[in-house]
């Protein structure tokens, strides 16, 4: 009977999705946290900084002096090969190139010294105690890490939200007597003379931000990292996201370093490599308003020691607590099982650099996404994150009692979607303490809670007022963004149902595709994500799936409209970009001009009262929208100039970007605009 068959298959589908969810999300069982500051508040920091530090190492290797490491790299076959190659191409003598390599290495290499680490341990203890209430770490994760370090080379992959991240990581590893990592850091730190050297001596090594075609640089760099990995001298740490996320959304992973650390496994130089995702969640981010300004086009202040000193005033504020979750080590060997045939590496000398094969590339890409998702899964979400999501959907403000009530509701929803919430007290208490901690972002006047808009002194132009309002909206959005990964898939489904109820999957898949620069959506996972979304919405009773339909239920109304509101800023942002490209952009628009131009276009719309969405002003969203349009071939780049042809892009026989964009159009913008 066909009807039964569909039911059956729906049922199977649910089970299947549930199983994959559990697989993907081992965190349905999560570890407990331990506050490492507690001991610091009760015993001497000096003693702590000077205590015996004797970490266990990979298979008991003896630690390698920085100089010895450099020699190994400089004498490697890998480097010799490239030196000879470069020498032949450039006509320079190999000695000179070798000298160049040596200089590059000198500029790059870390000089880890335990004395410097002890200084940091002392100073950071003091600073952390002033800045934070708690620094919580899952000790079981630490134990797993310790085990992993002894067995295989370990790569630590923390999320990146703040400059604090890598100091914090080293601090924690020192506290637990684990091997200190060597950390890939951007060259920009080197600008800070003294601090740069201090970081170097605490294990940072520095890489230039871009070295595109520089073969020699790449060879030195990759050999340096691989040597450390192969010999297991120290765990290697780097940020998959490449840079600090200014929006608190996880960024699309960068693959360069991941490729480098995985390759020794493919070449059989190591038995396995363990990737350890680390999720660092801040209750309040130090760089909060700095990021918002940066997104609005106020340039990022150059790293300088004096700048750092000026930043001292942050020491007088309360930044709540930090949660650091060391995830389950991921074995590259197990991941690659059946996906990459290692014997294809047999026919090429291992010391000659080679572009990774397609099979490998897609494996590394998948792995990177998977790790970032694991980071997301283990991010601890504070109540404020939920409150911010609600406040952003009610810019005009909310009754405190309503906010509390909705927070309770949202908490329930988040929990049933396996969010990792930290809820230290009853909700009413938690709400008020969150409001206190984030008083720079939200204020309670009378019974009403609303976003605070910093009022500058003196007369204010409409543009300045708009800018100030945008700063607080974007700051607030950076908290809401932290919960997006929990709700993203069902939210996209909710939007799809609202706009194209008869072609839900096609619409979902369109949204999925369009937003894959903004969110972490693993390539090729559209169907799986759709099933997951269905499963979650059915599970919470928001929709029913009789036969092959997806139908909204009465009790699902609040959930679905919340989800719509959650994604609304993104939909609007993308529409504004489309509109700009269709209406305003001149033929010769360059990438450089693009962001300021879209920004002023949006400012005009807002000032004219035609747009109420401030997030459109975020350069992050503008970049992502453009990248999406380029990827979907709605816009083409011709020698750095953009050519838009949105109108002709077919998405599927019955859908086109235009049609969908029209349908998604609301809030004062008439569909005719885009036509």
């Amino acid at each position: 009977h066909p009807h039964q068959a569909t039911q059956m298959s729906n049922y199977c589908l649910n089970i299947l999705v549930f199983v994959t969810l559990q697989q993907r999300d081992p965190m349905l069982k999560r570890d407990c946290f331990e506050d490492i500051l507690e001991e610091r508040r009760n015993s001497s920091d000096l003693k702590y900084a000077l205590r015996c530090y004797a970490p266990v190492l990979y298979k008991g290797v003896t630690p390698c002096k920085a100089n010895m490491l450099k020699n190994i790299v400089l004498q490697s076959d890998q480097l010799h090969y490239v030196i000879n190659q470069v020498s032949q191409e450039s006509g320079e003598a190999p000695d000179i190139i070798q000298e160049e390599a040596s200089v590059i290495l000198e500029e790059m290499a870390h000089r880890l010294q335990i004395s410097t680490v002890r200084c940091f341990a002392f100073a950071l203890s003091k600073a952390f105690k002033t800045l934070f209430q708690h620094v919580c770490v899952n000790e079981e994760g630490i134990q797993r890490l310790q085990q992993a370090i002894q067995e295989h080379p370990v790569v630590l992959l923390p999320s990146h939200r703040s400059y604090m991240d890598f100091l914090l990581m080293s601090y924690i590893l020192y506290t637990y007597d684990l091997a200190l990592p060597v950390i890939a850091a951007g060259m920009d730190f080197m600008g800070m003379k003294f601090v740069g050297e201090m970081l170097r001596m605490s294990g940072a090594f520095f890489i230039r931000r871009s070295f595109g075609g520089d073969k020699l640089y790449w060879a030195v760099f990759s050999e340096y990292v691989k040597t450390m990995l192969r010999n297991g001298f120290a765990p290697i740490e780097f940020f998959l996201e490449g840079t600090r996320s200014r929006t608190c959304k996880s960024l699309t992973p960068k693959l360069g370093l991941l490729n480098i650390v995985i390759e020794p496994f493919f070449k059989g130089e190591v038995f396995d490599v363990n990737l350890v995702p680390v999720s660092i969640s801040y209750e309040r981010i130090l760089e909060e308003s700095l990021y918002a300004r940066e997104l609005l086009g106020v340039p990022k202040p150059k790293e300088s020691t004096s700048g750092l000193l000026k930043a001292r005033r942050i020491l007088s504020e309360d930044y709540g607590s930090i949660h650091v979750y060391f995830g389950q080590p991921v074995s590259v060997r197990s991941l690659a099982q059946g996906k990459v045939n290692r014997s294809t590496y047999n026919l090429f000398p291992r010391h000659i650099p080679r572009k990774p094969m397609e099979e490998t590339q897609s494996f590394v890409n998948d792995t990177a996404y998977r790790i970032v998702r694991l980071q997301e899964d283990n991010m601890v979400l504070k109540p404020w994150v939920l409150m911010a999501s609600l406040l952003l959907q009610n810019l005009e403000g909310l009754e405190l009692s309503v906010l509390t009530e909705q927070t309770v509701w949202l908490r329930g929803l988040a929990l049933s979607y396996a969010a990792f919430l930290d809820w230290p007290a009853p909700t009413a208490k938690v709400v008020s303490s969150s409001l206190a901690l984030h008083r720079g972002l939200a204020c309670v006047s009378g019974d009403r809670v609303s976003l605070v808009v910093g009022e500058p002194l003196g007369p204010v132009t409409p543009e300045e007022a708009l800018f100030n309002r945008a700063v607080s909206v974007l700051s607030c959005a950076s908290y809401r963004n932290q919960v997006l990964h929990v709700f993203l898939r069902p939210a996209m489904l909710a939007v799809a149902m609202l706009h194209l109820s008869d072609e839900v999957y096609n619409c979902f898949s369109f949204l999925w595709d369009m937003f894959s620069n903004d969110f972490i959506l693993c390539p090729g996972d559209t169907v799986q994500d759709f099933e997951e979304a269905c499963y979650l919405l059915v599970k919470t009773g928001a929709v029913q799936m009789p036969q092959q339909d997806i139908v909204m239920t009465d009790i699902g109304q609040p959930t679905l409209s919340f989800f719509n509101g959650l994604l609304e800023p993104f939909l609007q942002g993308y529409q504004v970009v489309c509109r700009y490209l269709c209406e305003e952009a001149s033929e010769g628009l360059t990438e450089k001009q693009y962001i300021p131009a879209v920004r002023s276009f949006a400012v005009k719309l807002i000032l004219a009262g035609n747009l109420r969405c401030y997030e459109v002003l975020s350069s992050d969203m503008q970049k992502n929208a453009l990248a999406a349009l380029l990827r979907m071939d709605a816009v083409r780049k011709v020698k750095n100039r953009m050519i838009s042809h949105i109108n002709q892009t077919p998405i599927s026989p019955s859908l086109s970007l235009v049609a969908v964009a029209e349908d998604l159009y609301r809030d004062g913008l008439t569909p005719s605009y885009i036509r």
Partner: protein, 591 residues
Amino acid sequence: PSLLLLLTLTKLTNCFLFSPRQEIMKWNGWGYSDSKFLFNKKGQAEFTGKRYRLSGMTLPSLQDWFENTFGASVKHKSPPVLNASVVPPPRLNEAFVENLKATGIPFSNEAEDRVFRAHGHCLHEIFALREGKKFERVPDMVVWPNCHNDVVKIVELACKHNVCLIPYGGGTSVTSALECPPEETRCIVSLDTSQMNRILWLDENNLVAHVEAGIIGQDLERLLNESGYCTGHEPDSMEFSSLGGWVATRASGMKKNVYGNIEDLVIHIKAVTPRGVIEKSCQGPRTSTGPDIHHFILGSEGTLGVVTEVTMKIRPIPEYQKYGSVVFPKFEAGVACLREVAKQRCAPASIRLMDNKQFHFGHALKPQVSSIFTHFVEGLKKFYITKLKGFDPHQLVVATLLFEGDRERVLQHEKQVYDIAATFGGLAAGEDNGQRGYLLTFVIAYLRDLGMDYCVVAESFETSVPWDRVLDLCQNVKERIIRECKERGVQFQPLTSCRVTQTYDSGACIYFYFAFNYRGLADPVHTYEQVEHAAREEILANGGSLSHHHGVGKLRKEWMKDSISNVGVGMLKSVKEYVDPENIFGNRNLL
């Protein structure tokens, strides 16, 4: 003198005793019935018999080593079941038997004869024999041709009556090559070449000997020695393996550095196939006549026909032989030294590097020291190496060496090799250590039987790999084995050990030992097979070959396509298709 020699050589055969070897050899273990390891009442290990240097000696440290390495205990015995396994009744092809009788070629369908030729020496085969398990399929009869022409007749009859032939030489296969395909419904005839064991002629002008392919390695060497020659081909199995088997599996000898591997030693091959006899028309030392047809036969593993006669290079017996050994602080240093020796092309007749585990293994086989003085000297040596030179006893490795040639050249050569070793931190460690290293290879299979008496299963496997991957391959394969054992519920730490046994210009041959205590496992052989399978995958993923000299048999067939490409498999198939369209040689090895 050559005529005389010919006469003495030909009278060897005993036409009435077709299987003298069968009488003196174990039916459910390795080697001679009179030679075996056992733990005596005092708890000391001894090696029985009179055939080997170790025979009749007690080995005081073996028990400790055995118990410590495997977590085994001499109290937990797992002796073989002594009732012979049930043998399925023969499926005879009456017409074939009638015709065969007419030729006068001896044959048998006694159960004992058939089972003896139904297996090689893979772990699962020996384990099954010990446990008295039934073989699904065994040969239905055994024939003993006496010469090339007998083989021609047998093959003709087999084709005429559609009978399956499986050539059988020394029976030392470790690739399931002798296993009868269970799906084979025709009568299976085991063609035992053991009666074709004569040296037909010896040509001192060209230094070649023409030999029947059934001859066993040690007999060939002994007979040649009597006239002052040798082939120098000494695979570890040479006591029992046959010339025809070497050709059919591309065997490799310990002293290949001086004498070459089988493919270098063979000048002319005569083989009988269903299509007829294949041989070349001359004995030129090298020819350019299209692809070398010898290479269709070398490594064909009995799938195309029977090798009946081989002309082989011979050399005068070397004037002087000297063993030697070098101790290195670490395996890495040892490998680097062997690589350098290979680079300078000054490898001695044999050079092997044993890892630390094997070094200790070798030491466990030291016989009881007879005098206090030797004891003292041993202690002094140990003190010198570990204390004065600072070698870590849990890291150090030993290379064993065998030099051959005239005395002066050997000494000169020895110095050159020791000088190279010194640059890698190697210390000369005496002849005795070297000799014991080679001894290990001959008694290792006997030791497996001892292990099986006490719940330990063991096996060896080999590969060849480019120099730059030697270390990584050894390390990764060992780690894979340990991990797989753990995952499959092996409750004791397995022994994984390797040695570099051959050096080439561009790479080396690596030989692994792998053993574990199987107490607590329901099906130890299956577990063992899964682990070995994983180990082979690891070898292939690390740039190792499917086999250096054991061959493919049926054990490694599944990887042939990946190893030699689809076209390669197609080429082999088309040769088989032409030579043996009815699959008379139906052992189903290789493809």
